[in-house]
């Protein structure tokens, strides 16, 4: 294989590193959300009696905003919030523990099938590669280049598509569940989800394009150097 043909092998590690960093971030986020050390969940929906007084004080209102940002709103229903606010301290702790257990179960129930699916999909390409290898080295190399090219091109627009569709639907479902939120809070949550998804996708695209360009320039320089020497 010529040195030009070997170039795409240098793009793959960059993408792998980006994936590793992303996976590490996801793991850290999940660990902090699920760990017993994280602070107990507070009800997000204030009772109508408590809301004006806390807004008048000022510090209470800002606290409420912070808790809104940090916790997903869809997991707290009105009935849960009412039960936690209505009772004293022990009932509050009980409700928190129950909510936490429910959250854990929901996390595992959503993530386990997705994990198995992510593990199963590369199996299909593995089978492809296995059979392509029987056609010879040229066919396998050509297919490798084509798969890698398609992967990097489709990453640019499929990632935004997947992420925005997930967050749009999830926020819609969340809005339907937690209908106690104000109209402005709903809009804010939706726009935050979409903006972060788009930002992430754009960042991934920029990193890929820039990294690829820089690598290509470097390789071109190195091959030109070799040619002049020869």
């Amino acid at each position: 294989m010529s040195s030009r043909g070997a170039r795409f092998f240098f793009v793959a590690p960059a993408m792998r590193w980006a994936g590793l960093v992303g996976a590490a971030l996801c793991l850290i986020r999940g660990a902090t959300a699920l760990s017993p050390l994280s602070p107990p969940l507070r009800p997000l929906v204030p009772t109508t009696a408590a809301a004006p007084s806390s807004r008048a004080v000022g510090t209470g209102a800002s606290e409420h905003v912070v808790s809104c940002r940090r916790r997903p709103a869809r997991f707290v229903t009105q009935s849960q919030a009412a039960s936690t606010v209505g009772g004293g301290e022990p009932k509050d702790a009980d409700a928190d523990a129950a909510l936490k257990r429910g959250l854990d179960r929901e996390f595992v129930g959503i993530s386990l099938p997705a994990f198995v699916q992510f593990a199963a999909e590369p199996l299909a390409s593995l089978v492809d590669t296995m059979y392509l290898g029987r056609l010879g080295a040229t066919a396998l190399g050509a297919a490798g280049v084509a798969i890698s090219a398609q992967y990097s091109v489709s990453k640019l627009y499929n990632d935004p598509l997947l992420r925005t569709s997930i967050s749009l639907v999830a926020s819609g479902a969340g809005k339907a569940q937690a209908s106690g939120m104000s109209e402005a809070a709903k809009k804010e949550e939706l726009s935050q989800a979409v903006t972060s998804a788009l930002l992430l996708a754009t960042l991934v695209g920029i990193v890929q394009v820039r990294g690829g360009r820089r690598l290509r320039a470097k390789l071109r320089a190195s091959t030109a150097c070799c040619h002049t020497r020869a």
Partner: protein
Amino acid sequence: MRHAWPAAQASVYTVACGPIIQTMGVSVTSEMYAPAVSYLSIKALGTPAATMWLVVNGIFRGLGDTITPLKWALVFTGLNALLVPFFIFTLVVLCWERLSVRV
């Protein structure tokens, strides 16, 4: 607009097939060029379906249901394992032979 996405993707791959492969570092003179381009242009036929699958996956995941996509992903993987020998050893080899005769 939404329905134009898959079509646009397929056309991107079929039109820009050669340049994409060249960008990945395979020159026109390389013996890998012809099979790589033909592989990518055939694979481009599947991109609309892949995009639909992706978006439907996202919708199901957004609703909190990851079991239905998992079931279908397993079905697709099984189908792929069954059909790939036929596609590669009868269809693709025929195309490839014709292509190499022409080149």
